[in-house]
Symmetry: D2
Subunit: 420 residues, 4 copies
């Protein structure tokens, strides 16, 4: 047992922390102000990229702090999931960071899909520019008309017709759809209706400029458009793409999704942990400098206890996530299902709690855009729904727990239990 | 003991519920969409009133559903605090309603201040148009540079100079400041620095077009501007108003504030309870109609338990608030301090919990502007800070609790306690 | 709406509080010590009555503080449910009190059953001595071999044979079974197996000395036997009683149980609220007099906030219970089902929380028998299971909540909800 | 980073689990029944050892499953703190286990004190028989008359007089004091009143048969005497021991206590985790086999979610504890202060929650002595007070957290924070 990160991991953490401290955080407030002045409205077609972010992105790329999420040592830096985890945490301090390091969702997940399951042609057409940070991508999963928590409900159809695939239906909460560089969507939909439940859906690459594909609107998430990324609603009206745009094969949607999920959840969770650390840090700094009733407010009421609560929640959530990452690396996603579902529940809820405490310590300042806290709160709340709501993941954890008792329930129960 | 509302109260509840059901709720979604398309940006100077809301307001006025918050039977309808409470709950179903019935904060509180403490001239100049719904008002209390949870920290100065008062400093989170009809601010500030702590501050009427008063910006509250109301930051740079604009007298700020608070908190809380009922109702309807894993999602996992939790939280919070209202009417604000602070903590936290559950049942739909839930969530979160954060009110409740033991601690303690 | 108790109610509260303060609380510690020295073991046959308690009981009876739970004005004092509620709270301060005032469970419930549903012969034989406090009774409901949360699971059989009823099976958690004066059991069991689910069970009077009835043992509840009351396990082996011992009729068990439950739950809950007030009072007194790190411990960390939390939890729970009591009196048990189930969940959980905080403030003293806190903790925990676990009552509340939407779900939903 | 235990550790876990499964658990119910029949009363002088436990102890010793807590490889088996941790978890399944493996508190802590700080004479007189399991020991720390959460409050005096030490005062909650084999106490008290706060107290060895030392009574912890161990109150009335009984030196009490605490807390916590796993296991087995309303009760309401909650709470608490253990081994107690205080808060609270859920699933059976759950509940509740209440440890965690900001608060804060 060893709770120390590898030397390589620590080196990257140091570099990313340094970059964050020197280059990102000092400009965060002004970037967010500029961005909001520029893009703070629902007319997403007019959203523009922030030039400072673009410059930072170029710098990160030049310094080799690029695609660190990808275990591949050519395209990325060969960091395993558990090696990358604390790097993701360092990025999580600011909502601006993931894009700067080309480690933002959903591009990371999409790049992983293409990396593992894409054809050579798909890779050269879409993976290469994504890895270069030249374009961005979206992932069409959630639908407005069904409970998407049960993915088998999905109603968008991907129907083979000759050497084309025809796509119909509506997706929403498609993150990143408003970004000026968004060019390609990976869309999941029903294509083999008669197959068994988990072999009916396919994933297909759909360029966003394909005829019949309409971006209807951007949705606010807790009042915010998250510009210039956005969460969009897109309609597919007889959208046709070449059959070569299919990933892996017809009906392989769930198989791809399974492979895609493990590392992606670890990344999300580690960033959320970084956000929680930032929130705690802001909370302490605010509480130590503001005075009420003759004392720094952090000394008042239960505030010091809340600092301890936050520390204990964060540390536990981090260890759980690192353990999940380690299992993904060492025993594989299939043997880490409990862990992967558990972090998906634990971490966003932890972030929601910690941010709520931090906002409370800040008063009104905590709610407005001057600080990253309201953004973190929206992120936490969204993560409790995105990629399966809490309830679905708790159901998974408990089902796996009960399964342990199936084969030999009697053998494991003590005599006491038997007698009761 | 009698848990039934008076006949008069029930009659107004029925009328307001009917108005809500027939006229407001069916148009709520379209009004909010229009409003967001029109005003969903930070350039508050361009915010416009929604014509449908204005028409509904005229209708409500015509039907006598107007100024119901005011116990006065000429200007209002002579409803006591406990009589008005369930009427406020009925309005709380929609964020649009309070303005329609001329019962919106902070105008109600400001009207009460003028009603109870204003001079005749102040009343005719400002109270009359407010009661008529012709203009709107704001209340300048919170400041960015100090912990406003301790109101004695306040730094804005209101200095008498000859027959004028000179105002300097900054206020923020001034709600309603962006509204096109906002004309007048009641501002609280330091004016008798040498007096004892609670006799130093004054309240003064400041027309928003007074030279030296600048509205610097609107703040987002959880990503949303709450247009066309807005929460603003205003700067006072040697703003001069006639001494006649002083309310009650120099140093009377805290005395006025105390009188203003009791009923206002009941109103806020009852509206929040109405919002919680709406959230629960939406949660049940969504959960009963969406299907996942072969069942309506309300039957899955702990969802039914959450319905019960919500019902129990709401019912308790409502009774606590009604009891506070009844005490205000029957024994006075001074003898209802525990109750008034308790509801200020209990109700917004209850709303935050209930709305969180309702959002979770809705998935993505719960987070976006298509439903009132995200708005309710922001309202709940803001109420936990506005007008004193949770912590200040808990401190009040516990201080009053300990005070019960001061005179005769021994007499009250049992022999058991003594021996321990 | 009126939150003041009736004059009559206040008069009895004053008398009971005075009796508690003057006579019960000063002797509580010594009585509990004596009782534990005498009865603190599992050999229940040797348990003895405490002479001081018996003397106090005689005094209470002499002063007319007797059978106050019974609305009947001849046998009791004609207090309605809501009138009696604060009297029960006053008794709840000490675990010793209910017996002293002849208002202890399960005798109160049993007396109500006999009062409402007993034959004249049953009344004269059993109700009279119970009302006189000469004997005690038990109620046989819970069974060890089935989930008793679903009462239709019940396996004890009550079979008519000629003019006798034959009883077989096992009951446990039969409270009061170890009491030296316990003479009679009301037992519920299956007797019309072919009837529909809620008409299969009967209630029958079984004297505890009937041949074939064996008391197997007393159970500890959280380590404590609750002597001299006890929670027992009793076995019925072809126990025969005359058919005249049947209450109301064959298959009427559930009908009787329904009628029995409402007021009984209010009584339990009000006593629990009294216990919570006592716990809070002890917590404040302890916290104000013990010093650590240079301050009274109540000033440390989040302790003051916990005082406020306790006050807010208690006040809400009390109002909910009083409202349920008022509804029982004014609209009947059938229209108060949500309220009666809600208090059954809310109040014991509230007590568990408040007592937990009080114990924490006391350190080790809080856990041992020198103070009533550990007893209150066991009471709270038991109440969360007794008479239906939390889960069953939450299910009831949520089912009733959903039922509101059955007839006209569409009519009630707003346009917003429809569009989502 | 590596989340796998060492081979040696896994080997001992396997052996202990096997021993538990084969020998302890099958006899647990009957041992507890016998023990309760024999010792279930307050006359501790009559408590007797259970012969089955003694036989199991001999077996464990024979198999080398003995003193595993001690890192020493001669006396113990050379297991580091993190190696021993999962072994302690395996023992935690049953309250009977620690004694059987000679790994029970407070003997383990006392043995560590003697091992690290005892003189040769002290070791041969007391450590050897303790390591052999021939005698037992107690630790006198908590006092009834002061808030012992602030250890500097301690009032027992240990005064040097010639070549003797004279001890006066009262200790209570002295665990193990009722055990028939208890022979020796380590007592902490004030002996250098003029020294600075943390150099005033000494630790001294006091044989329990020393004249002047009276065991006044055993206390119930949540109604239970925990026989044959017991929690006692002992009085020191001019108790005299040779100066050679002093451990380390006058005023070294706090220094010794610090060294004693780290591993001891890990042991307590890991056992608590084992108890939580057992509780979860019983909960699942009960819930899967009992039927209500036509389904296994585990499928009803929120029960499956509670299984997931328990799994997530346990896994997080375990990782936090293992990390603390690893830090103790690798960076030392002084650099693991946050971790050691954090587990002291997190783990007992987790156990309290998990056991509460398990009891609720069992109904009445969960509260009585037929199952280990009520015992686990009392253990959890006691652990939240023993060795520093939650509040003291939260204060430590938050103080250390704030200390991170002392030297360079500005350097660490982002520009955003500064501007707010």
């Amino acid at each position: 047992m060893n709770f120390e990160h590898s030397e390589k991991s620590r080196a990257y953490v140091a570099k990313v922390r340094d970059f964050m401290q020197q280059k990102v955080l000092p400009q965060e407030a002004s970037i967010m102000r500029e961005n909001h002045a520029q893009n703070g409205h629902g007319n997403w077609q007019q959203w523009q990229l922030n030039p400072t972010v673009q410059a930072l992105k170029a710098q990160a790329k030049a310094e080799g702090l690029w695609n660190l999420f990808l275990p591949d040592s050519e395209w990325g830096q060969g960091l395993s999931c558990v090696d990358y985890a604390p790097v993701a945490e360092a990025m999580g301090q600011s909502l601006l960071a993931p894009e700067i390091f080309n480690c933002n969702a959903p591009d990371t997940g999409n790049m992983e899909v293409l990396y593992h399951f894409g054809s050579d042609a798909q890779k050269s057409q879409w993976l290469t520019p994504l890895l270069n940070g030249d374009i961005r991508s979206v992932f069409g999963m959630t639908e407005p008309d069904v409970a998407s928590s049960d993915a088998t409900n999905m109603q968008v159809t991907i129907t083979p017709e000759g050497d084309e695939l025809v796509i119909n239906g509506t997706k929403w909460w498609t993150t990143g759809l408003g970004h000026p560089n968004a060019k390609i969507a990976i869309v999941m939909g029903l294509s083999v209706p008669d197959a068994d439940k988990h072999n009916r859906h396919s994933m297909v690459l759909v360029p966003l400029d394909t005829p019949g594909l309409t971006i209807k609107r951007m949705l606010t998430a807790y009042g915010d458009y998250d510009a210039p990324y956005g969460h969009g609603e897109m309609h597919f009206d007889n959208v046709r793409v070449p059959a070569a745009n299919l990933i892996m094969g017809l009906g392989k949607g769930f198989a791809i999704a399974q492979g895609r999920l493990g590392p992606g959840r670890v990344h999300h969770c580690m960033r959320a942990i970084g956000a929680a650390e930032r929130a705690l840090s802001l909370m302490i700094q605010r509480g130590s400098t503001r005075v009420a009733f003759g004392q720094p407010i952090i000394k008042l009421g239960g505030n010091m206890e809340r600092v301890a609560e936050a520390r204990m929640l964060i540390d536990q959530a981090r260890l759980l996530t690192l353990c999940a990452a380690w299992k993904i690396d060492n025993v594989g996603v299939k043997h880490a299902m409990t862990d992967i579902s558990a972090i998906k529940v634990v971490v966003p809820n932890m972030l929601q709690q910690v941010v709520d405490m931090a906002i409370q310590m800040h008063g009104g300042a905590g709610m407005c855009g001057d600080l990253p806290l309201a953004g973190f709160a929206a992120m936490a709340r969204s993560l409790r729904l995105a990629d399966g709501p809490d309830e679905v993941h708790k159901a998974m954890v408990s089902r796996l727990e009960l399964a342990k008792y199936k084969p030999a329930r009697e053998a494991q129960s003590s005599s006491l239990a038997k007698e009761s």
